[in-house]
Amino acid sequence: MLTRAKVFASAVAALLAVCASAGEPMVGIPAGVYRPFFRGKDDAKEIAVAAFQLDAHPVTNAEFLEFVRVNPKWQRSRVKRLFADDGYLRHWPGDLDFGASEAAQRPVTFVSWFAAKAFAAWKGRRLPTTAELEFAAGAGFDSADGAKEPQFVRAVNRWYSTPAPDALPAVAAGRANFFGVHDLHGLVWEWTSDFNSALVTGDARGDSGLDRQLFCGAGSLNASDRANFAAFMRFGFRSSLKAGYAIHNLGFRCASDL
């Protein structure tokens, strides 16, 4: 018994060492099933999510500074307009300066999808898919199914109904979820690799139809879990994004395959 525990402990230590060597801590998320919040009649009710690794917290200003230092083309004054709108890193006083020292541990925001993707690639990682991020975000404080934890649901709904503060809190300040991941709710919105997935299915309709489906109140009748206000908010938010957007309360974190 003792031996088995020892083997387990050393395996954990080895895993932690691997994560630490790659930079910021990542957390293993076990395989599971994501039930899409909003789907058409031909969409799968359940999407299998393979086990993967996810950053324990969103990427910080300090981490992003390192990235732009090494990759000058992603500095604010040099970025191409195609890849980020003019909001890009506007909260930084300069190209290589994120301002006050307490900003170091705040999540980086005002980053476009392209910049987030480039950062992840530079780290040897990638952005999580929507299914992966939603699956991880579905966990509560004490179980993989947060919807069944009233305390968790209340905490989450409180955040989604409160406007973002001007100065964001530091990452990982809040309680980690069941998987050991911080800030999946309560800090910033996050980019996913496939944020631009379509919203209604069957066969496609015009864009105006998509918008109506999304924002009209009746849209939520197609939702798999009408009580899940937070999932609806995230869904609506993602669908309103364009890849070049760089805005105040939108950041990202990285994932990787196991």
Binding site: G40, D42, D43, A44, K80, R81, L82, F83, W113, F114, K117, S193, D194, F195, N196, S197, A198, L199, V200, T201, G202, D203, A204, R205, G206, D207, S208, G209, L210, S239, K242, A243
Partner: protein, 218 residues
């Protein structure tokens, strides 16, 4: 000798810019990167394969106006209409700009739309090789291009793709200058945008032409 002959050929091709040369648009040489404007889609480094099996970057399309849509060959409903919309557009182009506008289809279906499948689609839809380019690419590259165009798409459980129906006009620099949304959309506005960009391009190339050597990358 060979080089001289090639040069002659290039010059001939350049002077015949308004007449389709019988060569698919994707078979031209790309200009070196770094010359592209800040909003040019041609900055993308991704590689694509055409229905003639040629691997290209989008930059090869520089220099002509492109009418672009994303589609997939096995689409049952929307894409044939979308492609028909583009063909109607092609047919209704005013004579002055016909031959100066090219058409580009990029597939969502990274698995099934092989070059051969795209070739079959070209034949089925009777898309002229001189003006139409069909491309396929890797999943990440398709996702990125879609993101740039503002096209949303998702594969459903049957392997079909739900997607936005969007026709995009790129100017000769590869910048988005107009988008026609929905099926059977407003072609008049699109034609107006095409006429405007062709006219602007001619004006600027005429200006540049006075103090520049002939373009060796037609």
């Amino acid at each position: 000798m060979k080089r001289a002959l090639l040069f002659v050929l290039c010059v001939t091709a350049a002077s015949a810019a308004d007449k389709p040369a019988g060569k698919p648009p994707c078979c031209r040489e790309a200009l070196p990167a770094g010359h592209y404007t800040d909003r040019s889609l041609y900055q993308l480094d991704s590689k694509w394969t055409s229905d003639v099996g040629r691997e290209v970057k989008l930059g090869v399309l520089r220099g002509r106006v492109q009418v672009l849509a994303m589609f997939f060959a096995q689409c049952e409903y929307a894409c044939p209409i979308l492609v028909n919309d583009m063909q109607r557009l092609e047919q209704s182009l005013p004579a002055a700009i016909r031959g100066r506008v090219e058409f580009l289809l990029v597939s969502f279906d990274t698995e099934r739309d092989t070059p051969a499948a795209l070739r079959a689609y070209r034949e089925k839809m009777q898309l002229t090789p001189e003006r139409w380019t069909l491309l396929r690419g890797g999943a990440d590259d398709v996702r990125e291009l879609a993101a740039l165009l503002g096209v949303n798409f998702q594969k459903d459980a049957r392997g079909q793709f739900a997607h936005s129906n969007l026709i995009t006009v790129l100017n000769p620099e590869g910048e988005i200058i107009h988008q026609q949304t929905g099926l059977k959309g407003d072609t008049a506005a699109t034609i107006a945008a095409l006429e405007k960009t062709v006219a602007e391009h001619e004006k600027s190339s005429a200006r540049e032409g006075q103090n520049r050597v002939p373009d060796k990358n037609p």
